[in-house]
């Protein structure tokens, strides 16, 4: 198999994986979503002015490890996450998927996202780039790193962010 074809197949696999992940999030299947992560996973939404800072030394919007990823999902599925109770409708469009590096079983990939949220007659939109580190596991992948980097300068237009990006 030529490298170009192998690349295309890997990209198609990743694309499928990201679409399936998006479906879990959009359909509030968060208990299944948390199973996609490795034990040492991180899920970050960095500060809007500089996505490359260290979450231990600067302020992020979300800086979750696995325990925090699970807690966030449990809270959202419970009935006291008032900002999401009743739940919002979301739909995410994922495009521009590119593999940036392959190192053994670890693959880094980026994708653009547009997440629209609608709740109680109000619509807000979040646009940005996902940066993933995926590790191959059996026929699929696990997420070791997931960064959602928003392409905006403040959160003033959406207010707050109560959904998982």
């Amino acid at each position: 198999m030529s490298p170009a074809i192998a690349d295309r197949e890997l990209r198609a696999e990743i694309e499928q994986f990201l679409y399936e992940e998006a479906e879990l999030l959009d359909n509030w299947r968060l208990d299944e979503w948390v199973e996609l992560f490795t034990e040492d996973a991180i899920s970050h939404v960095p500060a809007l002015d500089d996505p490359d800072r260290d979450p231990a030394q600067s302020v992020f919007l979300v800086a979750d490890d696995l325990a925090r990823i699970r807690s966030r999902a449990r809270q959202l599925l419970g009935d006291t996450a008032w900002a999401e109770n009743p739940r919002s409708q979301t739909r995410r469009l994922i495009t521009n998927i590119r593999i940036t590096s392959v190192d053994g079983i670890a693959i880094r990939a980026t994708a653009n996202f547009l997440v629209q949220r609608c709740r109680m007659e109000r619509i807000s939109t979040f646009v940005g780039q996902y940066q993933y580190k995926l590790v191959r596991q059996e026929a699929s992948f696990k997420i070791a790193e997931r960064k959602a980097i928003l392409a905006q300068d403040t959160l003033r237009s959406q207010g707050t962010m109560s959904i998982i990006l």
Binding site: F60, V62, W82
Partner: protein, 413 residues
């Protein structure tokens, strides 16, 4: 007994019903929804009060600057080559265009791109293309950027748009001692960390002032945080609502609308080595307060310091039903990296705009806002909790009443 004159539409019910003898404190929902009152707030409160504008650690080097709206006005906060921090209106003296359009940076000069007038980093006008076209009445030394009255209190930069307002120290009244108590704890100084949170809500700005000093709602509104995040992520026992206020201090009115609530530290063991040192330095009572209690300080009109989360938070009205919220964590300079991480987590997980509490607070404030504009004209909000208690609790509403009484005096006078 009605202590405030009715204002607004003819025959409209009074804004406040304040009767300490009967334990009644009520106000009209119009305080959140009436555009005429917002106009009064702008003129009588935001144009005359000392407003938190920034922290000196945000502009550490000569030439450092940042731009920010304070009290609804676009400002530049700049440290000049002379090392002094000044605050300017971000507007060219020629025709008023914005001279600095970057959020932050370091510069020798600010250049307006309309006609290239330029100003040095101390605000002085130093470049006017075609200078010879101006007559003798044009004096460059009088044409520097409009400077805003500013005071630096232990690193906190406050701005005031009125020359008549008293000095900051007098304005802070008894809140100053509490600010000192907070700042004295960082023996090696402190600094704002990068990554400012700038968000908003579709609700009146005053709702956030009340909400941030409202302890009563913690267990009902923030169950998800208290009963999931606290035990399952932090590994701590959530506070028992029945016993949480044992040993609590009463909230205090601090003059000029400022107030403080103090409650026992939610977790953690006081540093016993520090206790000895601090008892010697500050006296036993103050050291105990600093080590075993934590405070939320409300500086009238729109600044909050939440000591447990180490965050300065401000809120400004954009419209009656729209407010901009900004939050900056203030961290000790001498910090163990692991402790720094925990401090950030405590802030982010609760008060961050994507945390496990703030979105729910915004939800409830937006619900209030929607209702208050449509309630009957004689509807009122109740704010009397703990009014007749000898020793009110942090979960009472003394601190909100301090805010409202000052607000009423300024708005109704």
């Amino acid at each position: 007994m009605d202590t405030a004159a009715p204002i607004g539409r003819n025959g409209a019910p009074a804004l406040f019903h304040d009767d300490p003898g009967q334990g009644i404190f009520r106000f009209s929902p119009r305080v959140y929804s009436d555009p005429e009152l917002l106009e009064r707030e702008r003129r009588r409160i935001f144009d005359r009060s000392w407003l938190y504008a920034g922290h000196e650690s945000e502009v550490p080097q000569p030439g450092d600057f940042l731009t920010r709206r304070v009290g609804g006005r676009p400002l530049i906060i700049a440290r000049g080559d002379d090392g002094r921090i000044r605050v300017f209106h971000n507007s060219c003296r020629h025709r008023g265009a914005t001279v600095c359009r970057h959020a932050k940076g370091n510069t020798k000069s600010f250049v307006c791109f309309y006609h290239n007038w330029s100003y040095d980093n101390q605000g002085g006008l130093d470049g006017v293309p075609g200078r010879d076209a101006y007559g003798p009445g044009f004096k460059a030394e009088e044409m520097g950027l409009y400077e805003v009255r500013t005071q630096n209190y232990r690193g906190w930069l406050f701005a005031c748009f009125s020359r008549e307002t008293e000095c900051l120290e007098d304005y802070l009244a008894d809140a100053r001692a509490y600010l000192d108590m907070i700042l004295d704890q960082d023996e090696h100084g402190n600094a704002i960390l990068p990554g400012t949170h700038e968000y908003s809500m579709r609700a009146n700005w005053k709702l956030l002032m009340e909400n941030t000093v409202d302890i009563y709602h913690l267990n009902s509104t923030h169950g998800r945080f208290m009963y999931d995040y606290v035990p399952k992520v932090l590994g701590l026992k959530p506070p028992n609502p029945r016993t949480a206020h044992e040993g609590a201090l009463s909230p205090r009115e601090l003059g000029n609308g400022h107030a403080v609530i103090e409650y026992r530290k939610f977790s953690g063991v006081a540093d016993e080595a520090k206790r000895k040192q601090w008892e010697a330095r500050f006296g036993k009572e103050r050291a105990t307060s600093m080590l075993d209690y934590t405070r939320t300080l409300l500086l009238f009109p729109n600044t909050l310091y939440i000591e447990q989360r180490r965050v300065i938070r401000t809120c400004f009205p954009v419209a009656t039903d729209h407010a901009e919220i900004t939050a900056w964590p203030l961290m000790p300079l001498a910090d163990d990296p692991e402790i720094r991480k925990q401090r950030l987590d405590i802030y982010l997980s609760f008060l961050g705009p994507a945390g496990h509490a703030t979105p729910d607070d915004v939800e409830v404030m937006e619900l209030i806002q929607k209702n208050c504009a449509t309630l009957p004209e004689d509807a009122f909000m109740d704010c009397s909790r703990g009014m007749l208690r000898d020793h009110p609790l942090p979960s009472d509403e003394v601190q909100m009443r301090a805010f409202w009484r000052r607000w009423r005096n300024l708005i109704a006078q």
